[in-house]
């Protein structure tokens, strides 16, 4: 039930946005998102609400840690 999936915001109007979730565009609400999010941002969507803006730097940092163990 705690599934949340990354979605790309493609339109935004006030508290509402349209987001591309794996090719399907759905309306989502932004009232609960942790930081301002706009068109072009990825957000984690759970039960119709964006709950977290996803930043590339954080994701790349994790990938770097995963790859560091290669050595």
């Amino acid at each position: 039930m705690c599934l949340a999936i990354p979605a790309l915001i493609v339109e935004k109007e006030g508290s509402w946005a349209k987001a591309d979730i794996g090719g399907v565009v759905r309306e989502i609400n932004l009232d609960l998102v942790d930081r301002p999010a706009g068109i072009g941002d990825y957000v984690l969507v759970h039960a119709g609400f964006a709950i977290r803006r996803l930043d590339k730097e954080d994701a790349e940092e994790t990938l770097k840690l995963m790859r560091e163990v290669f050595k």
Binding site: M1, L3, A4, H46, G48, F49, E61, T62, L63, M66
Partner: protein
């Protein structure tokens, strides 16, 4: 950056798995608290990549599974209220109450609607001013803010026919309850999307007071394995702290905006967990100022606690005491088509997950 596929890369997954094998010297039992992690572990066959010295057990992190039968009976009682519409997430439809489930009650005439979001339930209330809409608020901290924001919106707009039955539950205190109950586990793979809301900080007592390392994990195969590696490294070094693997989804302090909304609407209370009984301060109830939006007063009768059906071991499965494969009803009597207990109902219940995948990677 798609924030998902990068963390599924096969080569990356294999290398992390090899590093786990190198790092794991002693025997460790790790609990994945969250049902979504259980599904990821099985769907991706991750157990087959781990050394035998690592034992993964599933925890109580499936909100549908830990909902007591008495709470299902409360929802069924709301079906009897004249002009009621029950708005619920789909997971709840097949969970057995003491006499029937919500789907069966619907077949007997109750108006039960499946919603995708709490705002869908608000919309139902707007469209049907002559009806009473009872929204079943279920889920952990991931979901509770979305219920809270709907209550605030209903209050702002004077939507008097919208009511919430809050069955929401809190996770960090129940991890403490599990440990107090004697569940034997060395470290926790912690729920990434719960922590997207509450942050990693509330897990500190688990790591500091109980000495059980915690790593907050994402849900892609690379995430889960990396979290296991981080736990093994802590354990082998004799350390116990809270680490975040899922940095893109979780901060240490959490989502202040969502926490504020939750705090505005809910008070904590004791809550009944299947398998664990009543646990203090693990439930959320509406604050008295939002009493008009509380569905509880509409339950017209006293609901008695109901024991689990004979033979059902869901309580032991949820406490990590037994694997679903050790339940005598598993696959013989209890199947997803005809579930006896809730762990076989929810797609993220341990038993349903083992049922679907255990042939490929047995627990």
């Amino acid at each position: 950056m798609k924030f998902a596929s990068e963390f599924r890369d096969r080569k990356l997954v294999e290398v992390i798995a090899r590093n786990i094998s190198r790092a794991a010297i002693r025997h460790w039992t790790l609990m994945e608290f969250c049902g979504t992690h259980t599904v990821s572990i099985f769907r991706n066959g991750l157990k087959t990549l781990l050394p035998e010295s690592l034992n993964l057990i599933s925890g109580p992190g499936c909100p549908v599974c830990v909902t007591s039968r008495a709470d299902i009976d409360r929802i069924l009682a709301l079906c009897d209220v004249p002009a009621a519409i029950i708005a619920t997430y789909g997971d709840m439809i097949k969970v057995p109450g003491s006499s029937m489930n919500l789907g069966e009650r619907r077949a007997r005439g109750a108006d039960v609607r499946v919603v995708y979001s709490s705002f869908d339930a608000l919309e139902l209330a707007r469209k049907h001013p002559d009806r009473k809409v009872f929204f079943i608020g279920i889920g952990f901290e991931t979901t509770a803010p979305s219920t809270a924001v709907a209550v605030l919106r209903a209050a702002e707009t004077g939507l008097e026919n919208f009511h919430v039955l809050s069955l929401h539950k809190l996770t960090p205190p129940v991890i403490g309850a599990l440990l107090k109950d004697g569940t034997e586990v060395d470290g926790f793979i912690c729920p990434g999307h719960v922590c997207a809301i509450i942050g990693a900080k509330p897990l500190e007592p688990v790591a500091r007071e109980w000495g059980k390392p915690c790593v907050v994990a994402g849900f892609e195969p690379g995430d889960v394995l990396q979290a296991i590696l981080m736990l093994v490294r802590q354990l082998e070094a004799g350390e116990s702290r809270v680490d975040i693997e899922y940095a893109r989804g979780v901060s240490y302090e959490g989502n202040a905006n969502a926490l504020r909304v939750m705090d505005r609407v809910f008070d904590t209370s004791a809550s009944e967990w299947r398998g664990l009984g009543a646990v203090d301060r693990t439930g959320l109830v509406l604050k008295s100022e939002f009493a008009d939006f509380d569905a509880s007063p509409f339950i017209g009768k006293e609901i008695e606690p109901v024991p689990d059906p004979p033979g059902c071991r869901c309580g032991d499965v949820l406490r990590g005491r037994i694997s679903p494969l050790e339940c005598p009803l598993f696959r013989k009597v209890c199947t997803p088509e005809k579930p006896v207990g809730p762990c076989m109902v929810s797609s993220e219940g341990s038993c349903a997950t083992y049922y679907q995948y255990a042939g490929a990677a047995s627990g």
